[in-house]
């Protein structure tokens, strides 16, 4: 095994071009587990911890560019206002030790259906900035996950950053597990209200071969909210609407039975989380609306 230690992003891209099977390692919270347990013996490890700009984040007009290696701890501390869904999801990752090392780039690179960041990215709307010596491209998050632990990256590409849409409304994240820490999600759910476009977006984790959106549920809710004038009148969500939304979210799942839970439990739990997060975000939207109206 060779340990490649590029000092800059350009060197990292050159190394990945020369050794396309090299395994990138930053926080090591996935890769080192596989090596420790002899599940993986890559010919080359490509250490990205010396590439400083991967640890930086920057707010643009309507999105935040989060460097691939920005640890979850930093996201929780610094991006809660702009990226509330991702900050909540980050807080559910493992433990402080893991959150100090792991970041979204690794979550995307591993592309596990159980990765905690994915539902939040899907709900908020995001693009993955991938780069190789051939050039840079932005991959929409909906097109990024291609199979169980597979993603749209080419062999010579590295993830440089993820561009996440700034929240324009309330966002929530919910995760089922046996305790509050050190848990791989049994299933997880992210929900973002986008009052500016009068749409909602969802993200489901650990309940299908890849992280997915519940598109039929989104379309149903978008239409129901529009039809009832909910965005304007700020009424509470009709229980039947919430229930139908939950059913459609359950229906979007394609889960398996495994040691963490059964398929039917996952379907059920996703429905419960969908209904709860809808209530939480909508109540928060109503509260904010009342405040702005009160001010006017």
């Amino acid at each position: 095994m060779d340990f490649l230690r590029p000092a800059s992003w350009e060197e990292a891209l050159a190394a990945k071009a020369e050794h396309p099977t090299a395994v990138p390692i930053a926080g090591g919270t996935d890769v080192m587990v596989e090596i420790n347990f002899d599940h993986r013996r890559p010919g080359h490890l490509l250490d990205l911890t010396r590439v400083g700009d991967l640890y930086e984040w920057e707010a643009a007009e309507d999105s935040v560019r989060v460097g691939a290696s920005v640890p979850y701890t930093r996201i929780m501390e610094n991006l809660r206002a702009e990226l509330p869904g991702l900050a909540l999801a980050s807080h559910t990752v493992a433990s402080p030790q893991i959150r100090n090392r792991g970041g979204v780039g690794g979550n995307l690179g591993t592309a596990s259906p159980a990765g905690d960041a994915h539902p939040a990215l899907l709900a908020a709307g995001a693009e993955v900035e991938a780069e190789s010596v051939r050039g840079s491209r932005r991959i929409p998050i909906d097109e990024f996950y291609t199979g169980v632990k597979r993603n749209a990256l080419a062999p010579d590409e590295l993830i440089r950053a993820v561009h996440v849409k700034k929240a324009d409304g309330p966002q929530q994240y919910s995760k089922v597990g046996t305790r509050n820490a050190m848990v791989i999600a049994v299933c997880a759910f992210g929900l973002a209200l986008h009052p500016r476009t009068r749409t909602v977006r969802t993200g489901i984790g650990s309940a299908a071969p890849t992280p997915i959106r519940a598109k039929a549920a989104e379309e149903f809710l978008n239409a129901a909210l529009e039809e009832g004038g909910f965005w304007d009148n700020g009424k509470i969500i009709t229980p039947s609407v919430a229930q139908r939304f939950a059913q459609l979210c359950s229906g979007a799942c394609n889960p398996i039975d495994d040691v963490r839970g059964t398929a039917s439990y996952r379907r059920h739990a996703v429905g419960v989380m969908a209904r709860r997060t809808l209530t939480w975000t909508w109540e928060s939207y109503r509260g904010a609306r009342r405040l702005t109206e009160g001010a006017a």
Binding site: M1, D2, F3, R5, I25, G27, G28, T29, V31, M32, V33, I35, N36, F37, R41, L45, D47, T49, A94, S95, P96, Q97, I98, N100, R101, N180, A181, M182
Partner: protein, 194 residues
């Protein structure tokens, strides 16, 4: 491969390190620092918790090569680390970002900074003893490093803060209550000392 880094204030050089080796293995098997414990090797248990450039991490998940040029503090160096922090005006406010730089390259002052023996205990270590928070002792080094780091930036933790800070450290003996007592005790003593 060769790895050069600083452990508990002392320059170290490890030779013939396998490229897939963890920092934990280097510390325990090559540098003779068995304080950081090897249990789950997957970041679940926290018994290998060390400070890497000041940040608490699982040493089993740091590739040895990633430690090149970095500063590591293990439980063996915790007493010296805490003492130097106190001498630098108590790092508890978080205003002492230069603390690590100050200690860079400086040999720790204890009678045996390598093993931690013969030096006075860190306040958190004494609190664990006084509160009866040590049973089999296997999880203790990781808990000490994690708890000490929390008290460094959060001198008045709530119970929820303590539970969260220690949520990555498993203990199979104590049921955690005595550990909670110990951290509360250390926080209270730290408050009295200021």
């Amino acid at each position: 491969m060769r790895v050069n880094f600083t452990v508990n204030g002392r320059r170290q050089e490890a030779d013939d390190v396998w490229e897939g080796e963890s920092l934990l293995y280097v510390l325990r098997e090559r540098l003779g620092l068995p304080g950081s414990k090897n249990a789950c090797e997957q970041g679940e248990c926290g018994s290998c918790t060390v400070r890497l450039d000041g940040v608490p991490v699982c040493a089993c998940l740091v590739a040895a090569g990633q430690a090149e040029g970095r500063e590591v503090v293990t439980v063996e160096g915790l007493a010296d680390y805490a003492r130097q922090r106190a001498e630098h005006g108590g790092c508890a406010t978080g205003s002492c970002g230069t603390f690590l730089q100050d200690t860079r390259g400086r040999a720790a002052q204890g009678q045996d900074s390598q093993t931690g023996e013969g030096t006075e205990l860190a306040p958190i270590q004494q609190a664990f003893i006084d509160a009866g928070a040590v049973q089999c002792g296997f999880c203790t080094p990781g808990l000490l490093v994690a708890a000490d780091e929390m008290l460094e930036h959060n001198p008045n933790p709530t119970d929820a803060d303590i539970r969260e800070a220690l949520s990555g450290n498993l203990c199979r003996c104590t049921g955690y209550e005595k550990i909670m007592d110990a951290v509360r005790l250390a926080a209270a003593r730290q408050g009295e000392a200021v």
